[in-house]
Symmetry: C2
DNA sequence: TAGCACATGTAATAAGTTACATGATTTT
DNA sequence: AAAATCATGTAACTTATTACATGTGCTA
């Protein structure tokens, strides 16, 4: 398999590389652990699958952005083709992360299936849409609750950590977004009710 | 032994097909016009490129969801390999659109580069982040203004259209989201200021 | 010893964009 | 006559997920 050379990429594009480097700035990790960490922390705004993580890690090692920590030779996990690999960021990796943090982020064109259906809403009955909006709203109500719990948990478990204020900011975003969606849904439900009553 | 679920649930996956059918419910259109319409209306929550639209249209014709309107033979655009094709929805297409509208929409895992950078924010200087959040906020301020203008324009140009209430709803979502982001950014800018002052 | 969590990796496929090639029609 | 816009289409490429294959280590 041919591995693309990623050592000299001045490019603004965000690849799995930057997120993995960011996680490694917290300490040495295996690919598996990075995935787990993402699920717990960045899942709401950034995810990577194993199918992207492992190849990326190999490329990063080739490019000198990370290195594999030596395990004691007595550790049986250090041997074989399925050996456990604990990655550590190199100075080059740290530089790359720092550079990336300075590049202005680009907005992503997101898709929203509910809005698409709503846009063509006059092709169906208001009750059909109401059910969908209601389910959508419920999903975000649960989100909002989860975010609130997470915020409380974060303050308890991460007090004093330098990352805390930043983790709080990203959780806050999720919470504000969820609240906004819940309120918007409430307004839509009323409007759909009114449309339904007219017919 | 577990049995595979073979219940005939209509495919929940949203392809270019549904959006194109939705647009065709407004009247016969060329592929080019559908793209243009999307840019003006659904761009904020749904986009398709020509590279997806034209192949999809061919498949839809094959599947009997759309048909090509006959142009008068005197029209020179009706001939040749680059002939203009005006698509019209068939009854099968209308049925497919209607079915799809009844399938609960699924949430999409969106990515947000600003949040990812902010998450690793303690690896750089608060001023660097402030500049980025400021630019982000400005971008959404402009969005909000555009949405407000669009709402006014919509009421003027689409009065009486059956789709109007639904188009208003999707515009309203965009506006609410933009407002939420602007306010969140304002709070983040203050926090970053405070962090910067401590150092 | 069975089952689960940990762990690495590849191949197939799906999803989506971009660049290019072509040509007609309309406007300046 | 040039330029812009309308119009269709394909090929190459990038991006990302999913399913699969494989195996280790811990614990009930």
């Amino acid at each position: 398999m041919y591995l693309k050379d990623i050592s000299n990429v001045p490019d603004a594009k965000t690849t799995p590389v930057e997120c993995l480097l960011g996680l490694l700035s917290l300490g040495p990790l295996t690919g598996y652990q990075m995935r787990q960490l993402m699920q717990e922390s960045t899942a709401n705004f950034w995810r990577e699958s194993y199918g992207r993580i492992y190849p990326a890690l190999q490329q990063m090692q080739k490019a000198g952005l990370v290195e594999v920590e030596a395990l004691k030779t007595s550790d049986p996990r250090a041997k074989g083709p399925k050996a456990r690999k604990v990655y550590r960021m190199t100075a080059a990796g740290e530089a790359r992360l720092h550079t990336w943090l300075g590049v202005p982020p680009r907005r992503q064109g997101n898709r929203n299936e509910l809005l698409l259906k709503l846009f063509f809403g006059d092709r169906t009955k208001p009750e059909v849409l109401r059910a969908q909006v209601q389910a959508w709203q419920q999903s975000y109500i649960e989100d909002a609750q989860r975010y609130e719990e997470k915020l409380v948990h974060l303050e308890k478990t991460c007090a004093g950590e330098p990352g805390l204020p930043f983790w709080r900011m990203t959780l806050g975003y999720g919470l504000q977004e969820a609240i906004m969606v819940v309120n918007w849904c409430a307004a839509i439900l009323e409007e759909l009710q009114a449309i339904g009553n007219k017919n």
